[in-house]
Amino acid sequence: MKSSTYRKYNQAYYEEIVINNEIESRVAQNYRERFLVTAEDIYIVFEMYCKEDYDDEFLRTPKGEINHKQFIDLFIICLRNDSFKIAILIYTCFLNPAEDMTPRLMDILMNTIRESVQFHEQKLFYLHQHFDVLSIYQMNTLIDIY
């Protein structure tokens, strides 16, 4: 039951129902035309895509309303929820890795390594790619993790 993972019913809840069930495409289109209109509604749905790693839907949905800061927030959601299919899409298409990969992001990344073993090779890719961002303290933490 999808509602058990939500605190309140919102646009993302119904969008997830549309994705996970065989809803007729016209029904889905009518729903989206009415409920996924404002930038805020679209962002709520993108948050859900990033939590659940729905990469096909992420690619299909227009992203004109999403600004750069929101993409960084979405990237953080992906890291925290092991949604690395979307994470690599955001990283390659919508972030400026040299500037956006901050020590805070590296902290979040190291936490995910500690908490889950999934997508380990991708986590190591980000670590190696941005090793220069790590502080001495973070390097010590990294050694502790392994």
Binding site: S3, R7, K8, N10, Y13, I17, N20, I23
Partner: protein
């Protein structure tokens, strides 16, 4: 199942006399298990408790009727329950029903509701 919904509206509008009439009718005919269950709930908890929003038994009773009404496509029943309850547990089938019926008014109404976790299917 008409008796089932009659019993629900007896709770909804607080009509103990009609409950007694329906009870004698149900005893004379072969009733559905759900009707017997609803009568049992009325006997144990009383109409007042069952219709008080916030009581645990109210949530269980209303959800039982809500799910049945969605399955039977009775909008009058499920929309009135949806308007009453503040916390509601939608099954995936309920959300699909709202979407396929293009019931955007009720979808908007659910946006104001908090999800509940009940041991009911």
């Amino acid at each position: 199942m008409a008796i089932f919904y009659c019993l629900f509206f007896c709770i909804y509008y607080r009509n103990p006399d009609l409950v007694e009439f329906l009870r004698s009718y149900v005893y004379k005919t072969e009733g559905y298990p759900k009707i017997a269950r609803l009568l049992e709930m009325i006997d144990i908890n009383g109409l007042d408790r069952l219709r008080t929003i916030g009581e645990p038994m109210n949530a269980i009773t209303y959800h039982m009727v809500f799910y049945q009404a969605i399955d039977d496509d009775l909008r009058v029943v499920y929309s009135s329950i949806l308007r009453q309850l503040r916390m509601i547990q939608l099954r995936d089938a309920d959300a699909i029903h709202f979407l396929t019926k293009r019931d955007y008014e009720l979808i908007r109404l659910t946006f104001q509701k908090i999800t509940a976790k009940l041991n009911l299917t």
